[in-house]
Every structure is written in structure tokens, then in C-alpha cells.
Symmetry: C2
Subunit: 338 residues, 2 copies
């Protein structure tokens, strides 16, 4: 059983409140006594119990970061930027893996609901969730959403315009002279995926290309799914000139399948991925991708949350960032050839 403030007080021969003031650098303690107390604190390596502190102060200085999938190679960048801002402001960050499981997500949201953390940043995942909304409204919990949208727009949100990202990707392929473009996407019950579908369609429309439903494969977001998607398309007998895969992993699987089939990228098929991660850059050939401003995304989210904790609402409830396209070798046969 660790030492308590009371023990220290007894040892120093002063009252508990005096010790409390001393270790919290609060005024109202004589220079002499403060030194004496701090020395004892040091000597016994006393650490105040955070639970008790939190109970009394109603603050823990911990933020939770809820992530739907830890194997997403884009997340480390977001995480780091959030931690950076948090640490600068005296907050620790704990990560919570929700596995896209509503139950787990709810469990972790209870951390904020029940005062174990001061606030939470929820990244990605399924569409709108009543639970999150109720939480934010009823308990006025401090929440910030990243790349996720909630029905009513009352929770501060930072997101990347993924429809625009998909538009850029599709347009880029069209610019290469390709008109039959397959879309390999995740399930559209995820907000971001449905957005990408819209962007894809819009790019086709704007370029006078008719939508061919056969070219769209909707599946889960794994590498295996990407692999199977290619086989499925081949079986259907459709032969696109290019592919747009809406995630790193889908693209990775897709590329494997293409190569396994004996085809060349980009000579036989152009491929564009989504997400400028390690994965897309070590694939052979390096993938042209839609790149998101992940660091900016994370920093904005963290700042929003910290502002919220200080009672400040963000200027814009919903902040939309623009993705860009990063051209590499998987989509540009002509540039390489000449």
C-alpha cells in the first residue's frame, strides 16, 4: 500500500492541506515548510493517487483516442500528431481499439462518460451512432470526431473530403486515357466509403463517361478482399483499364492478384490507391495514391478537443480538409515510357 498524502503530512508534522498546497505549487505555504515538504515527498517518492485527484478535481488530464482498426497503416501518423498536441498541453493519450465493434466502442466511450478520461477523439468507423450523440448531448461529454459524421451536426468534427479524393483519383485515371475504371471499395455503410463512391460517380459524369455498375466491387476493407475483388471482376468478364481501390489494404491485395494473374502494372492495368502509407509506397510498383493531410487532421482534432475542455467551441463545427493526389508509377505508363 503506497503512501498517502496523510502519511506525508504526519511525517512532515503539518496538515494534509498544507502538503496538498505544497505539491501543487499553490500559494499560501511558507517557503520553509514548502521546501521541507517537497524534500520528504522526494525522499519517499510520493505520488498522489490520481483517482482521488480526479474525483476531487473532476479532471484526469487523459484523453482517449478511439480507433476502429489498428492495422490501418495511416493511423500512426494521426496518432502521433494528436499525441504531440496533447502532450504540449499537459494531457496524456490512451488509445482504444474498437475493432469497428459497436459494443467495444461503447465500452470505451464509457471511459469519458464515467470520468476516467476528460474527453475523447473518435476516428472513422461506421455511420452515425446514436450513442455518441446522446453522450455528447446528455452528459455534455467532450467529444471530437475525425473522419466520421454524426447525424445531427453538433459535435466538432474534422474530416477529409474523401469524395473529392475519389474524384481526383478517378479523374487522374481518366486523364491517362482510361475510361473503364473499376472501383474496389469498402462497405458503404461506412460514411467515408459512401462518400468515395459519390466522388467516383461524379468524376465519371463530369467526363461524360457512363456508369457501369459491373465495375464496382463493394467488399470488406481487407487485403484478401482486394485480391478476391480482382478475380471476381475477371470472372464477370469485365476488363477495366484502371482500378481505384479505396484503401491501402484493398490496393495491396488487388495488386497481388493482378501480378499473380501475370499482368503488368501500369502497362496492363493502372492502379490508384487511397492513403499515402508505408504500404502503398513499398508495393511494386509504388502506388499512385490519394494522400490525406493526416498530421493536420490530427492536430486540428486535438486542438478542438482541448479547446472544448477549456470551454471554447471551435469556430467551425465541421472542418473539411482537402486531399491531394500523389502520382507514382502505378498509374503512369506514358510518363515512364517516354
Amino acid at each position: 500500500m503506497p503512501l498517502t498524502l496523510k502519511d506525508i503530512a504526519k511525517i512532515a508534522g503539518v496538515a494534509e492541506s498544507t502538503v496538498s498546497r505544497a505539491i501543487n505549487n499553490k500559494p499560501g505555504v511558507g517557503e520553509e515548510t514548502r521546501k521541507k515538504i517537497l524534500k520528504i515527498v522526494e525522499e519517499y517518492n510520493f505520488q498522489p493517487n490520481k483517482l482521488a485527484q480526479g474525483l476531487a478535481k473532476k479532471q484526469t488530464h487523459i484523453l482517449a483516442l478511439l480507433l476502429p482498426d489498428l492495422s490501418n497503416p495511416n493511423y500512426p501518423t494521426i496518432i502521433k500528431s494528436i499525441e504531440e498536441v496533447a502532450n504540449e498541453n499537459g494531457y496524456q493519450v490512451v488509445l482504444c481499439n474498437t475493432d469497428n465493434n459497436p459494443e467495444k466502442e461503447k465500452g470505451y466511450l464509457e471511459l469519458v462518460e464515467r470520468n476516467q478520461v476528460d474527453g475523447a477523439i473518435v476516428v472513422g468507423g461506421e455511420l452515425a451512432d446514436r450513442h455518441i450523440l446522446n453522450l455528447a448531448l446528455n452528459k455534455n461529454a467532450s467529444l471530437v470526431l475525425v473522419n466520421r459524421l454524426c447525424e445531427e451536426l453538433t459535435i466538432p468534427t474534422v474530416l477529409v473530403d474523401s469524395a473529392r479524393g475519389a474524384y481526383l483519383a478517378t479523374e487522374h485515371l481518366i486523364d491517362q486515357g482510361i475510361s473503364e475504371i473499376a472501383l474496389i471499395m469498402g462497405l458503404d455503410r461506412e460514411f467515408l466509403e459512401s462518400e468515395k463512391l459519390e466522388g467516383y460517380k461524379q468524376a465519371l459524369t463530369d467526363n461524360g463517361i457512363e456508369l457501369n455498375e459491373k465495375l464496382i466491387v463493394q467488399t470488406e476493407g481487407s487485403r484478401e478482399a482486394g485480391y478476391r475483388a480482382f478475380l471476381e471482376l475477371m470472372k464477370k468478364g469485365v476488363t477495366p483499364g484502371g482500378f481505384f481501390a479505396t484503401s491501402d489494404l484493398l490496393a495491396a491485395g488487388l495488386v497481388e492478384a493482378i501480378k499473380m494473374g501475370g499482368y503488368l502494372i501500369p502497362e496492363d492495368f493502372s492502379v490508384v490507391g487511397y492513403g499515402d502509407s508505408l504500404v502503398s509506397s513499398i508495393i511494386t510498383p509504388p502506388l499512385t495514391v490519394v494522400a490525406e493531410p493526416l498530421t493536420r487532421l490530427g492536430k486540428l482534432a486535438a486542438r478542438n478537443l482541448i479547446n472544448l475542455l477549456n470551454g471554447k467551441q471551435p469556430a467551425e463545427i465541421i472542418k473539411v480538409l482537402n486531399p491531394s493526389i500523389k502520382v507514382r508509377n502505378s498509374s503512369t505508363p506514358h510518363i515512364k515510357d517516354k
Copy 2:
């Protein structure tokens, strides 16, 4: 301000203790009153304050998992297996990114030190750390180490015999008829890396090959470092027949550099990596790697910690698991050629 137990008691017209018993399924409450109370709890969506609970019960049912580097593609597997065991036993898991930064690590260890979590699993990272040890001894905090060793052997530890892994990798290359084997490794102040160096040396010795210090490059564990390592070796004028890179990222960079130099794998250079992750399998060609039993590792660690929390010491303080080698195309020219 959320409802408290007192509020519920007032609404139900009973004492606080009765409410407490009711929501905790403790005996000593009339069936009638229990129902009434639970209905009110439901209706008002009352959630007990975990800080107060923790303070009173000295338990939070949260475990911390400290990781040195989130971008390590092997970790998701470990994390999932730990979470699985934890959840089955009624614990939540929060992840803490220490970034291999002792300060941050210390900060997160304070979570257990100061009762915000019940225990912690510390994965990998630098060699022995006084702080961890003191924590475990003085505060008898519940700690378990994974792939990390602490000076005195008093903390339950699960680790993979990485010396053996390196031995297997080196031997495999030797079996391919290669005698000049370069070692691209991380800094040997990390326990696991120094172990790998030993395994490498042992394999050479056992096969009557003399150690050539020039073939060893020690660097940080990043992809860029792997890339530079190859260039450095070339500059030195040494021409190994094969490479053993001690991490996924090092291997990824190394492979890039080799290909960028116009060489073929495995025709010109054989490459063996460490870690059976997504990265090593999507590289072209797929990498022969040392594979660790990550799921087993995680589950054992989690069980150890939970046992510890229940007052049971593990049967073996140090449990060593064996890695295996997974042969793919990067190291077997002859198998492919014939």
C-alpha cells in the same frame, strides 16, 4: 453534471447503500426494491462514476498496454490477442504509445502506479530499466514484460528467443550456399537486437564461417535506415550474397535500395527479414522471414497479468517461445529456378 448514486437513492426513496447493492447484484435487497431501483437506473441512464468506484474498490478493470512504436506492423496481432484474453476476463485495454521515449514510458507507467489502471503489459523497447523494476518491487504494481528483459528477473516475462530466430535466418542463408551474409540490425542497446546479433554470430561459428565485422550495419530501425544500410555496404566495397535484416521496416528499405540499384532478388542477393507482417508479404518478392508466435505471446502475457492481479504468480517467471522460419521467394533462387 451527471446523476450520482445519491440522486438515484433519493428518487427511489431508499438508501444509497441499497442502490449500490442493487446495481452490483449483491445479495441483501428485496426483489421488489431491486426491480424498482434497476428500472430507475435504466430510465435515467445512470452510470456509476468509475473514479469513485476505483477509489473505493481499488480496482478499475483496465489494463494498460505500453508499446514502443505503433508503426510496427507486428503489433496489431499482439494487441488483438491481448485484448481478447482481457475482454474475456472483464478487463478493458488501453494502448499507450511510448515512442521509445523513457519519459513517456514513465508517464504511462504512472497510470498503474497511481491506480488509474490495474496493471500493465510492457512490450519491447530499450534494455533494462530501473524505473520499471522499482515500480514492480516498491509499489508491488502488477506488471508483465513482453519481448523485453529486466535486470533482475522478478517480473513475469514472455519473450521470443530472437537469438534463435536470427540463428535460423542466418543458417537458412548458409543453407542456400551463401557464406557472405550481411546483417542489417537495429541498435544493440535494445535487448532483442543484441540477441539477434548473438544468434547471427553463433550460426556463422557453427558453420565454420569467420565473422566479418564489415558486413554488420547497426542503425535505427526505420525503412530509410534500411535503404541507407545497403548503400553504405556498397560504398565499403563489400558484396555479400545475402542479407538478414532484423525488422520489417529495415528489410523494406533494404529491398528498395537493392532494386533501385538494379539488382534482382533473389538472383543477385538473397534477403531474409524478421517478422511475418503485412509488410514483408506484400514486398516484391515476398520475403522469407523469421516468424514469431505473436498470438501466443500476447495471450500468455495477458493471462500472466490477470493471474497476477488475482494473486497468482506464473509458473515460470520467464517464458521463452520459439520462432520459426517462413520461406518465401526472397531467399530461394534454386527452388524457383528449377
